[in-house]
Homo-oligomer: 211 residues x 2
Amino acid sequence: MTVTEEPKPRRLTPKGRATRDRIIEAATELIARNGVAGTGIEDVRAAAGVSGSQLYHYFDSKQALIRAVITRQADSVLHPDQPRVTALDSFDALRAWADAAIERQRENGCRGDCTLGSLAGELSVSDEESRTDLATGFLRWKDLILDGLRAMRDRGGLRADADLDELALSLLTALQGGVLLSQTMLHVRPLEAAMNASLAYVHSFATTAGR
Amino acid sequence: MTVTEEPKPRRLTPKGRATRDRIIEAATELIARNGVAGTGIEDVRAAAGVSGSQLYHYFDSKQALIRAVITRQADSVLHPDQPRVTALDSFDALRAWADAAIERQRENGCRGDCTLGSLAGELSVSDEESRTDLATGFLRWKDLILDGLRAMRDRGGLRADADLDELALSLLTALQGGVLLSQTMLHVRPLEAAMNASLAYVHSFATTAGR
DNA sequence: CACTTTCTGGGTTGTTCTGTCCAGAACCGT
DNA sequence: ACGGTTCTGGACAGAACAACCCAGAAAGTG
């Protein structure tokens, strides 16, 4: 099952890379608002300001484009300009992370947040390859949270017998599920409730010294 | 925004109702496995064993069919043969409810559970009317949980100052988000972690007498 | 400055899928 | 039994959409 990664344009010129990025960006935007099924190649073409065969010059198929969007979203949590996720290693940091997510959701009226969770509902059943990509993204995300929790434990803030993997998963699930329900109910309360619950869960493993 | 409910066949004969139900059932099955976008009218037609114009005799459009599926799923939690949800009024009952969900997920290999959550990811962004139906379903579901929690509080098992609405929402979100991530990662741990977290959250509002 | 590779535009094809039409069979009330 | 309604079958139109092709411009490479 080891597939060659990107068999399309073997080498990209700077200009080419820029165009490719523009396409992915436009696709991400559209998918966030209309979903995968509701976003046609033609729509992406128009939004990206490219024409016709461009899309198939850079991507083998619509599916390949979607997968690129997924990968981009999964990676966006890691290295780039998201400083808040780099230090989820204290109760305050976790709380701030949750609040930021809630605030972001509130800002755009509980709509159009293109998290992996929104894509998962649409793709994980129908497209096996996309499902794998999404699972990888979730796993990476979870590991990031896990790193923070490990730091907390090593520092003595969390009990040694705490199942950190479970805690990290509960935080991730709360975020994804909360965003999903918030988008559907057009209210931030589901997200708030879910984050509060999992934060409390983490908190219940705090050492007396840790807080 | 008050839309007439079902403008299609004004009166249904017993036979007609049976056919209609069969179509909805087949559609539910297919959607659970292939998603909404991955399920065509033709597929439903074949699976239900009906032919051609039947579908449009009972439903105005594909969207109408989808909405019927949503409504059916939303109602299935309420009156029918699901006795376990009728009594979510103790810690043990909540635990059993969570375990049942986890077990069900494990049984079918984390696939094909047609919960509202799976539909939400696909529909809440693209189709406003379906989003409303889903939101109504979630709300009803939440109220059901809420009833149980109220009973617990009135019986003295939960503290009077507990925000029962928040607790109910956290349970619901944990279930939906957990199923979603479990389906994507093909593992029940996300669901387990999420349910454990929200159950612990509820538990943290228990009175000393209550347990 | 040749020469190759990459990039871009637009038109086109072929398929897939929703939704419609029409005619006949079964069913229901009276 | 009769007239009207509901149900069923299959064929068909029409749109939406992914994907392909060709030719030319631009840019990188020696």
